[in-house]
Amino acid sequence: MFRLSLSRRLVAIGGAGFLALWIALISFYYLANGLSRTASNPPPGQIAAIVTLLKAEPSVRWPALIDAVSSPILDLSVVGIDLAPENTLDLWEDPEYRIYREVLGDDLLSIRLLVPERRFRRPRLLQGVLNPVQFRVRLAPDRVLVMETRTPFIVSWFGLPAGLGAGLIGTLFGVAALIVFHREIRPLTRLAAAVDRIDPVGAPVALPKLKGAAPETQALLKAFDRLQTRLHAIVRARLALIGGIQHDVRTFATRLRLRVEHIPNVREREKAATDIDDMIELLDNALLAGRAGVGALDEELLDLVPLLEAEVTDRRAAGARITLAALPPETALVIGDRLALRRVFANLIDNALKYGGAAHLALAIEAEWLRVTVDDEGPGISADRREILMEPFVRLETSRARKTGGAGLGLAVARNLAEAHGGTLEIDDAPSGGARLIVQLRLFCSQ
């Protein structure tokens, strides 16, 4: 879509204003001088008087007389009777010009609009105004007076066309306005660039110093600075909260975990310990998603192969059915937060093991993307449930709510974190019939 920049809009508004002023000045000039459109044609009485005078004087005096009545808008000459035909428009029948025929009677030979031979045709609409009108009046049997009248060019006291002053001043104002506008607009462009660089978790961005900018621009700058300060304060508070909760809840959980050992019933004791572990996992998921939400993830060059191998080895040692089709080391390199990515895959693997009975991981490189698939051997996930399943606190087995544990945060967090890394998480069908979870992450390329 074509959009005008602010400075162009302002110049257009200014230009329109000056044009209106100019038109008003000219109109005023017309009104004050009592001019009208017909003033371009000489009054019939004037032509009649000139003809009478010329007829009364001997032909030797004609040049002097012609000089006396000629003016820039009235051109007179005396020619022989046989006038060459010209490219003209005949106005003889024009009702506006009937008055001339009545006043001059039989002496009037023709009234014509002269159309000059030009390369470029003037607009037809303006012909009546721009082109001279020619009157031919018989003075003597072999002498014809040719009068050409032109549209008067409106001239001011200084000999310049009326409105030129207004136009010139307007142009000067326009140029000055353009410079001023540009000066005012440029800081806004710089401000926009600086605001774009604001990073809620990084160091505060120094906004440009705008000396001599308009108060409104200064106010905008200060507002952005305050906004940045507030944003940083909010993010700092959020991160402090996350850190505080991490520390304190884990401290409580540690005490509880150690106290649980005093429960005499072995089964109850184990269940209580599992509850604590689930609680901590839920907390970790939520807090990590919160951290990703404010962009506070670490950036590190990671080899996903050892990371996944560690996850797989841990679970295999615990007796899970899990396999990994890996790539050679140092090929699956991505930039990301180690903990967050470990969380993504841990969530997917645990889901696969919990609901699908097994987890089969595979890594593949597709152009600039790294594709990790986690297949299970469960019943699969129907296409219409896939999107909703990635929302927080949505679980597939609502009927058996919480029997298999989990709060329904795992997939939501995994997707959140994958997207925070510029990647994607999708649900598909595994070739074996179970569900397939696909994580795509951008491969690191050295530059």
Partner: protein
């Protein structure tokens, strides 16, 4: 009977862990912060220390570094943040093992016993600060960069500061701000351009000594990283 020193600001945890370990036949000393720990260490020589990472006053990181520099005491670090575990046992700190809170009694006992078995009395050696990467060895104490083939690469002090910054944080994306803070600190006249310039000079020198290695990479949001792994050497 091995003595275990428990340093944690939470009284309940000190007591619970203490009870657990004494039931298993260990002698227990406790301290609620670094100062109390120093007092205990003046009195006796524990066989193992369980140290909380986050404490008011001097924190676990600093305590760990301080102890490491003076005596061969095995340290089991307790941490509440799972994202700090990598650093705790990494090059930077040298804790011998760690446990993420909350932990079960069996886990704790297993780690403690493993550490005590492993901790044969050893002669203390100040940690070396020589790091190998690609075909280079950066010696942070001697402040020089060597190649395995051609000897010393001459670097200006600014370039070496920058290199140490990368070597100590391998494969991490470092923003220009972080680099400025870690090298000579931010001064009034230092700009992002300063870092860019320094990085490009360092890059040229590394590239000249190890052609095609492309060791320092630029990341989209304006950061740099050392693309190869670094290991500590003696």
């Amino acid at each position: 009977m091995p003595t275990i020193l428990i340093v944690d600001d939470d009284a309940d945890i000190r007591q619970l862990v203490g009870d657990l370990l004494s039931r298993e036949g260990f002698a227990i000393e406790t301290a609620e912060d670094a100062r109390a720990m120093d007092e205990v260490l003046r009195r006796r020589e524990p066989d193992l220390m369980i140290l909380d990472l986050m404490m008011p006053g001097e924190d676990g990181l600093s305590v760990c570094r301080r102890i490491r520099a003076t005596r061969p005491l095995p340290i089991l670090m307790l941490t509440a943040k799972s994202d700090e575990t990598d650093r705790v046992v990494g090059l930077e700190l040298g804790a011998d093992d760690y446990l993420v809170k909350p932990f079960g009694p069996r886990e704790l006992l297993a780690r403690v016993r493993a550490l005590l078995r492993r901790a044969a009395p050893q002669v203390f050696q100040p940690p070396s600060r020589r790091y190998a990467f690609d075909r280079f060895i950066a010696d942070l104490d001697a402040r020089q960069l060597e190649t395995t083939l051609e000897g010393v690469v001459s670097l200006t002090s600014g370039e070496f500061e920058l290199l140490s910054c990368f070597v100590l944080r391998p494969r991490r994306v470092l923003s220009r701000d972080q680099i400025l803070d870690w090298t000579h600190g931010r001064t009034a006249d230092s700009f992002d351009r300063t870092v860019d310039l320094l990085v490009s000079r360092l890059r040229k020198k590394l590239e000249a000594a190890s052609p095609g290695s492309n060791l320092i990479s630029t990341v989209r949001n304006g950061g740099y990283l050392l693309t190869v792994p670094v290991r500590q050497v003696t």
